[in-house]
Assembly symmetry: C2
Homo-oligomer: 138 residues x 2
């Protein structure tokens, strides 16, 4: 949470109450949450905010590298290693819904090299692997 404040300040932005609360909700969840799930949990504190409120907070958190979007699920997850920059990939379990954030250098490297050899200038990388996690294989 200290990291969050620092990263916000580094961007010249503020780590406000809503943003903090959304990040807490993401970090407390064991699996990715949809924007409207987050809304539901915000509601417990106050009157249910409009969707914009959550989407704006999420935009900020993602921008600051404090959360990630899982495109294949239309869901969001708190970053598990927010210190410093990183290029994360996700292992998403179809059975229990959990999503493990990994930082696999070989994947990142292969992606860079593939893009480079195609003359493609990379902005963002989406690497989401779905399947069954170790816990759910018994």
């Amino acid at each position: 949470m200290k990291t969050a404040e620092n990263k916000s300040r580094a961007l010249g932005l503020r780590f406000t109450k809503t943003r903090r609360k959304v990040l807490e909700i993401l970090w407390q969840s064991h699996s990715p949450l949809g924007a409207y799930d987050i809304l539901d949990r915000l509601q417990e504190d106050s009157r249910r905010p409009a969707p914009m409120v959550v989407y704006r907070a999420l935009d900020f958190l993602i921008e600051a590298g404090l959360a990630h979007r899982l495109s294949s699920r239309n869901a969001f997850i708190g970053c598990s290693a927010p210190e410093g920059d990183h290029e994360a990939q996700f292992l998403i379990c179809n059975h229990c819904g959990s999503a493990a954030e990994v930082e696999a250098r070989p994947i990142a490297k292969a992606v860079e090299e593939t893009a480079a050899s195609a003359g493609f200038h990379v902005h963002q990388r989406v690497v989401e692997i779905t399947g069954v996690c170790p816990n759910c294989q018994s």
Copy 2:
């Protein structure tokens, strides 16, 4: 298109008019299309079908390996190498909207190894790289 008929038959399914038309639309487009874009183009032939029609056709085409979904765009694209099985990745240009399907063995390999070392049993892989394509860099 011959490939499409064969793959359909191999699944014990039919390559019907709507499915064929949707695949034609995808293959004719130079960039990924949203489901409702496809609907718009179907309309030119007949009365505008309900969204279900397109989603059902897309489900079929994806199942048969004739088209792919781009999760990060909520869009769909015709497969550029539908013969045989393959594990594709995408280079999606933020400038012109084009999406190049590549089959990069090193990425596929790194993904397999990462999953294996995490004890994760893979079902699907989503690898979508966004940025600027060679054509748009001048």
